[in-house]
């Protein structure tokens, strides 16, 4: 269900650090996570373990195989390395299309988030003047 867009940008007046002791609350929304706190859009906590760590959680409840839950106090360094993916990044995708020895008449863009698929389809069309489609599931595309 979609609701009419009701967002606006507002300048921050002040940011300050205050010592605090007590409970902090967070909401986790499935799938994925965020909420408006006092009307301001904030990121919230998220389900998967690895993502939580990457997001900077340092106290993580973990379910062990025996069903018990323990809390791990994460002190170790956490690093994420991006360039080792087995997927092509945007530039590589574009140069793949460019380098194909036979130029396709039509490119169907799939396997990507909504926005990313559209982005790529748009760019390929702009750059190479090839007809592109980013179909939705169940959409049939006639080739001949």
């Amino acid at each position: 269900m979609n609701i009419k867009k009701k967002l606006k940008l507002v300048k921050i007046k002040s940011v300050e650090r205050i010592p605090f002791r007590g409970y902090l609350y967070d909401a986790t929304v499935n799938p994925c996570h965020n909420f408006f706190a006092n009307g301001i859009l904030v990121h919230n906590s998220e389900g998967t373990f690895g993502r939580r760590i990457q997001k900077g959680w340092r106290e993580i409840p973990v379910r062990l195989e025996n069903g018990k839950t323990v809390s791990i106090n994460l002190q170790m360094e956490v690093a994420t390395i991006n360039g080792l993916s087995g997927h092509s990044d945007r530039n590589q995708l574009l140069s793949f299309v460019n380098r194909l020895s036979a130029r396709p008449d039509k490119i169907i863009v799939v396997h990507g988030e909504n926005q990313k698929a559209l982005d790529l389809a748009r760019t390929i069309h702009k750059l190479f003047r090839i007809e592109t489609v980013a179909p939705k599931n169940l959409e049939g595309i006639r080739l001949k």
Partner: protein, 1198 residues
């Protein structure tokens, strides 16, 4: 069938016995030996004409016997090929040869292969036996082999269907996306052509829930029975996950994939079932489905063209994404249309794979992935990423190894154990000496580093898991020029230490021992220090001969009584007699036995009178014969002197042997004594037994001893009234120097008694053997003392205490004017398990110096020491400030103020009682540790005493200040990344062990089976015998026990599987490694994109706290509580710019102690956040609250 007829007509009729189909391949069986040997040219022409694959096989009756064939093959194939197994599939006239080096079985240009075929009349198939054993590969090969009958029929059926004349009412080509359109996961496409239907990929969405997991198969167009083939691009679950389920639901057609994909897919399928079961979720397919899929698989190589349906021709080409991943090229009709399906493709080189293939003859339609197709999805270049990876790993490894003690000033004393002997030495002197000695040294980052691993020097380090102190081998010493300020830290015990600013020192915080940089250290922090250092060895004997042999005194000392046991000795002694007759008579005297005397007696008549008289003295035992004279006598009478002297019958012992003569022969006589040349009043045994009296005398001497002239030896001046003490000293001296009496000189005027003893021996013993300096300023505690047994150390302290100490109700104090002596004494107390403190006291009344150092042991320790020293047990000290535990820093128990002292510490006894009521593991660990926790009293910037600062480094996990290290990989569900990481490590010459856990090892085995699918440079390496996966650094972890061992083995790299979300090995590792800041967790290549695109909001404005309490608790731990809430929040979809309602929500709260960020916006909205909480800023960028600046813009709800 038309095609078969054609083939028949084109080949010589008489040779053909029957024609069959195996998929799109036409198999011609022949009964003609000659034709089978020479068919190649004929068949090539037919193949070119028909554009179909044809294979000629002999009928079974032509083939050689199986055993004979085996022998023949072994003869033909060079033994280096390492054939592991040969087995037969007579149904298809195939012989399968499994070899480690298949290249050799094929031979140059296929020569060996052809030879096998023509000589055995079997068609050989060659399999590679992977160097790393893979159960999956073995399992699959076994299934395919045992099901050979089924396979034959199945393949024939496919072939018939491919070559059938089929007509449908379709005249279009259409692609329908059944999944993975505008999403990631569950890839599945249905291709309809005029004559057939083909499914490309059939995956699941691993991260998805409910309806989003499987591809949408409920459409009208999809029908299991109409499907001609499934083509799978690669082995990831989002492309293959649903395939076994299709077989379980009734599909029975072929599955086209590359060979590595079959193996990897099977591995992942089975793992998926395992994970699901472990998660108590029923998997949607079982192992049966997996087996069916394997049975129906038709493997193809890259570039191999194969018909898969009446009007569809398939070619796989490398996609560069994972081993065996393929771009799917489909040729439809005869030149009607060409499709390339490029899902999950890498157009760029990776460590193991070539970049994707682009050289297609024709492409009309390209189906392209867009996982990272977004505007911002630009990845750093591979080299950069690899460099980053190596940097992180190396940093972790280094962090792990470096720093036993942080860079410290030259003059800092350290405890080292060299060859089981403990000594305390200035680190500077110690390192400089080692730098001289070691050959392996180099310069790195302006640091001089020396490798001393082989020297077997040990230093105390602590085990971060139980906080116990142990001695571990020193591996490296480091020194560098001072490049930053040096700080002197003074602890509450008065102990000081000089450390460079950026080095870390271990402090107590929240009950954990964590490192803190010295420049960040504050007065009032609690630093950990050892409470007790147990010394593992005890000295009970000192070999004086070994110590004195080279000294200048060796010529002035003689040895009394030596039993001669070899001719050599006598020869040496005889040859070393001095020229001077007088001198020669004074040394080396011979003690004769009765037998010996008898012989001398019998010789007497022959001798001249002058000597005759002498011999009388010898016989009547008035004097001992000197060796010189005796020799003369014997030779005069014609007796063999050497034989006589070396005979035990005649000679009892030698006396007054010069000490230096014995040195060469390592003499260890228990009964021999050292005496000075000119006096025999005092003597010392060669093997000096360290007993209580000696230890006590050392204590007395350290307290107030000094050296006199040679004849005086050591002098102890005591107050005339302390008769007990004076008598004790005399007793000790008598025992040590084996003297009958000791001179005592009382000077009533000064009311002192002066005790002198030992003579030259006393001087030598204390100054040379124990190395005690003459002046009190330079005195140090002898190294031997650190190696004394506890009993003797007590005696030593007792002596010292009686000399210089005092005791009160709850204090034992020993005074000294020498700071180093004070420090030494503290170390001895430490070895005894007591923590002493030192203070500098100004005393104007002292004439020479205006201060003294008081070494003080207080509190409950007094009772114990007093008891040990035999001072009685009337002492009442109870509370030991130094041993108490700073409870505030322990962060667990909350106590009222009156329960602790002013500095926030609590006594151990009281804490123990409290713990009985409120148990706490953390505090218990602290209490049982070998640490005490000392407050930092002062931090000062100081000048260094030398131009260098020093570091020691201990390899492996226990570092004095180090925790243990290790890199921990979270290899999130893309299996192939592990192999990439492995390849990168090998390429970078990584030297530490790398542990491979979970199914990654299996997957690696599969990688090693298919080198031809990898990049050319990798292939080259493998074929030249440098298989990166065979590197010694990789170690398999198969069982939980081994996992335990891995955790002991630091530093190392652990590569573990995706178990992260569901338990399994990764959790185990994380639990053990997470809490040490020295470790690193590395995420490599997420396969899934970040899906944090939605935002939520409560419907009505309700405080989050209220929402939280309205929910149902799911998890509660000490710090985090999760609750499931029923509210329906609203999210914001960044892609559509729309607000959305989402469902199924969890609310959490955690205890937090630290700063929060208060944000106030211009329209008056106020928000408190933890500093790392992201908020959305202007350009749709998430930014941590802590990094926000005023005037930035935030998205808010109108």
């Amino acid at each position: 069938m038309e095609i078969l007829e054609k083939v028949k007509s084109l080949l010589p009729k008489e040779a053909i016995s029957r024609i069959e189909l195996e998929g799109s391949e036409i198999i011609v069986y022949t009964k003609d030996r000659e034709f089978f040997k020479t068919y190649e040219n004929t068949v090539r022409q037919v193949v070119e004409q028909l554009k179909k694959r044809i294979e000629i096989r002999p009928e079974n009756n032509l083939s050689l016997e199986q055993e004979a064939t085996k022998q023949k093959i072994m003869e033909i194939v060079p033994s280096e090929a390492n054939i592991k197994e040969i087995y037969f599939e007579p149904e298809r006239s195939l012989v399968i040869i499994a070899a480690e080096k298949p290249g050799l079985v094929i031979g140059k240009g296929g020569e060996t292969f052809r030879k096998i075929r023509t000589e055995t009349f079997w068609v050989p198939r060659i399999e590679r036996v992977p160097p790393i054993k893979s159960e999956i590969i073995e399992g699959i090969r076994k299934v395919l082999h045992t099901e050979v009958k089924f396979r034959k029929e199945f393949l024939n059926k496919i072939g018939e269907s491919i070559f059938s004349e089929r007509t449908t009412n379709r005249d279009w080509i259409r692609v329908i996306g059944l999944g993975s359109c505008r999403e990631v996961g569950r890839s599945c496409f249905l291709l309809e052509t005029p004559k057939s239907k083909v499914l490309i990929d059939c995956g699941v969405n691993v991260g998805g829930s409910n309806s989003g997991v499987y591809p949408i198969l409920a459409t009208k167009e999809f029908d299991y029975n109409e499907l001609d083939a499934i083509i799978v691009s690669h082995s990831h679950l989002d492309h293959i996950g649903f395939v076994p389920a299709l077989y379980e639901r009734g599909y029975s057609g072929p599955l086209y994939l590359t060979t590595p994909t079959t193996d990897l897919a099977t591995l992942l399928w089975l793992d998926y079932i395992d994970v699901m079961q472990r998660n108590a979720v029923a998997p949607f397919f079982t192992a049966k489905g997996v087996k069916e899929a394997v049975k129906h698989s038709v493997p193809l190589e890259y570039g191999e063209v194969s018909d898969v349906a009446p009007d569809v021709r398939l070619t796989f080409q490398n996609a560069g994404h994972v081993l065996g991943s393929a771009l799917v090229h489909l040729h439809i009709g005869e030149g009607l249309h060409n499709i390339v399906y490029a899902a999950d493709m890498k157009y760029g080189k990776t460590p193991l794979l070539e970049q994707a293939f682009t050289d297609f003859q024709r492409v009309e339609t390209l189906i392209l992935e867009s996982t990272y197709g977004g505007v911002e999805d630009i990845m750093p270049p591979r080299q950069e990423a690899e460099a980053q990876l190596m940097e992180i790993i190396n940093k972790t490894m280094e962090r792990n190894g470096v720093a036993l003690i942080p860079s410290v000033d030259y003059s800092e004393p350290i405890i080292v154990m060299n060859d089981k002997h403990i000594k305390i030495i200035d680190i500077g002197r110690f390192c400089d000496e080692l730098f001289e000695k070691t050959k392996e040294k180099w310069i790195e980052n302006n640091c001089e580093i020396g490798d001393v691993k082989n020297m077997n020097i040990k230093v105390p380090v602590f085990n971060p898991r139980n906080y116990k102190i142990r001695f571990k081998k020193l591996s490296k010493i480091i020194r560098h020029k001072i490049n930053e300020p040096l700080y002197e830290i003074t602890l509450e015990t008065g102990r000081k230490c000089k450390i460079t600013a950026s080095h870390s020192i271990f402090t107590l915080r929240n009950g954990e021992v964590i490192p803190k940089e010295v420049k960040k250290l504050k007065v009032g922090d609690f630093v950990i220090a050892p409470k007790e250092i147990k010394s593992p060895t005890n000295i009970t004997k000192i070999n004086l001969l070994a110590i004195l042999k080279d000294g200048k005194f060796s010529k002035r000392l003689l040895i009394d009584k030596i039993e001669v046991d070899s001719i050599e000795d006598i020869k040496i002694f005889m040859s070393s007699l001095p020229e001077d007759r007088f001198a020669a008579n004074k040394i080396l005297q011979v003690e004769l036995t009765e037998e010996g005397k008898k012989i001398i007696k019998s010789l007497r008549p022959k001798l001249p009178r002058k000597i005759k008289n002498r011999t009388y003295e010898w016989v009547s035992e008035k004097k001992l014969p000197s060796l010189r004279l005796l020799k003369f006598v014997l030779e005069f009478c014609g007796v063999d002197s050497i034989a006589f002297l070396s005979n035990k019958k005649y000679v009892k012992s030698l006396k007054r042997v010069p000490l230096h003569l014995l040195c060469e022969r390592n003499y260890k006589g228990e009964n021999s004594y050292i005496i000075p040349r000119n006096s025999s009043k005092f003597k010392l045994p060669i093997i000096l037994k360290v007993d209580k009296k000696l230890a006590r005398l050392l204590g007395y001497f350290i307290a107030d001893g000094c050296y006199g002239r040679d004849t005086d030896g050591i002098i102890l001046t005591q107050n005339i009234k302390e008769e007990d003490k004076i008598n004790d000293i005399i007793e000790c001296m008598k025992s040590v120097f084996c003297a009958k009496d000791i001179s005592k000189n009382t000077r009533i005027k000064k009311s002192v008694t002066i005790i002198k003893g030992g003579g030259l021996l006393g001087y030598i013993l204390f100054s040379k053997v124990f190395g005690i300096e003459r002046r009190v300023d330079n005195k140090r505690v002898p190294e031997f003392v650190y190696n004394f047994s506890t009993e003797l150390k007590k005696e030593f302290i007792k002596g010292w205490f009686l000399g210089d100490g005092s005791i009160s109700k709850d204090h034992i104090t020993i005074n000294t004017v020498n700071r180093r002596l004070a420090s030494d004494l503290m170390y001895i107390f430490l070895q005894l398990g007591h923590v002493a403190s030192v203070s500098k006291v100004n005393k104007k009344s002292l004439s020479k110096r205006d201060y003294i150092f008081c070494v003080n042991v207080s509190g409950s320790q007094v009772n114990k020491i007093a008891e040990k020293l035999g001072l009685g047990n009337k002492f009442t000290g109870k509370y030991s400030r130094i041993l108490s535990i700073p409870i505030r820093e322990s962060g667990v128990l909350r106590l009222t103020k009156h329960e602790t002292n002013k500095k926030g510490k609590i006594g151990r006894e009281r804490l123990r009682k409290i713990l009985e009521k409120k148990p706490s593991e953390r505090i218990k660990k602290l209490m049982e540790s070998d640490f005490c926790f000392l407050r930092v009293n002062r931090i000062e910037r100081v000048k260094s005493t030398s131009e260098f600062v020093y570091d020691l480094s201990v390899e492996n996990y226990e570092n004095f200040i180090g925790g243990f290290g290790g890199v921990f990989f979270h290899n999130s569900f893309a299996v192939e990344r592990a192999q990439d990481v492995m390849a990168i490590l090998v390429e970078n010459n990584f030297q530490f062990p790398v542990f491979i856990d979970g199914m990654i090892w299996d997957a690696t085995g599969i990688y090693t089976a298919y080198p031809e699918y990898m990049a050319r440079n990798v292939q080259k390496k493998i074929f030249s015998g440098q298989d990166p996966f065979k590197s010694e650094i990789f170690k398999r972890v198969a069982s939980p026990d081994e996992r335990e061992k891995v955790l002991e083995q630091k530093p190392c790299v652990i590569i573990s599987t995706s178990g992260m979300l569901v338990g399994g090995p990764a959790i185990n590792y994380l639990q053990n490694l997470a809490e040490d800041p020295k470790n690193t967790l590395i995420f490599v290549g997420y396969q899934c994109v970040d899906k944090d695109t939605e935002v939520s909001l409560t419907n009505e404005k309700k405080a989050i706290k209220e929402i939280f309490y309205s929910g149902k608790r799911i998890i509660k731990t000490k710090n985090i509580e999760l609750r499931k809430i029923s509210e329906t929040p609203i999210g914001f979809n960044l892609n559509t710019d729309l607000l959305q309602i989402s469902s199924s929500n969890i609310c959490s709260r955690r205890k937090y102690n630290g700063d929060v960020i208060r944000i106030v916006t211009e329209d008056g909205k106020e928000l408190f956040l933890s500093p790392n909480h992201p908020v959305l800023t202007e350009r749709y960028l998430w930014k941590c609250a802590g990094n926000l600046n005023p005037n930035e813009k935030l998205w808010v709800l109108e």
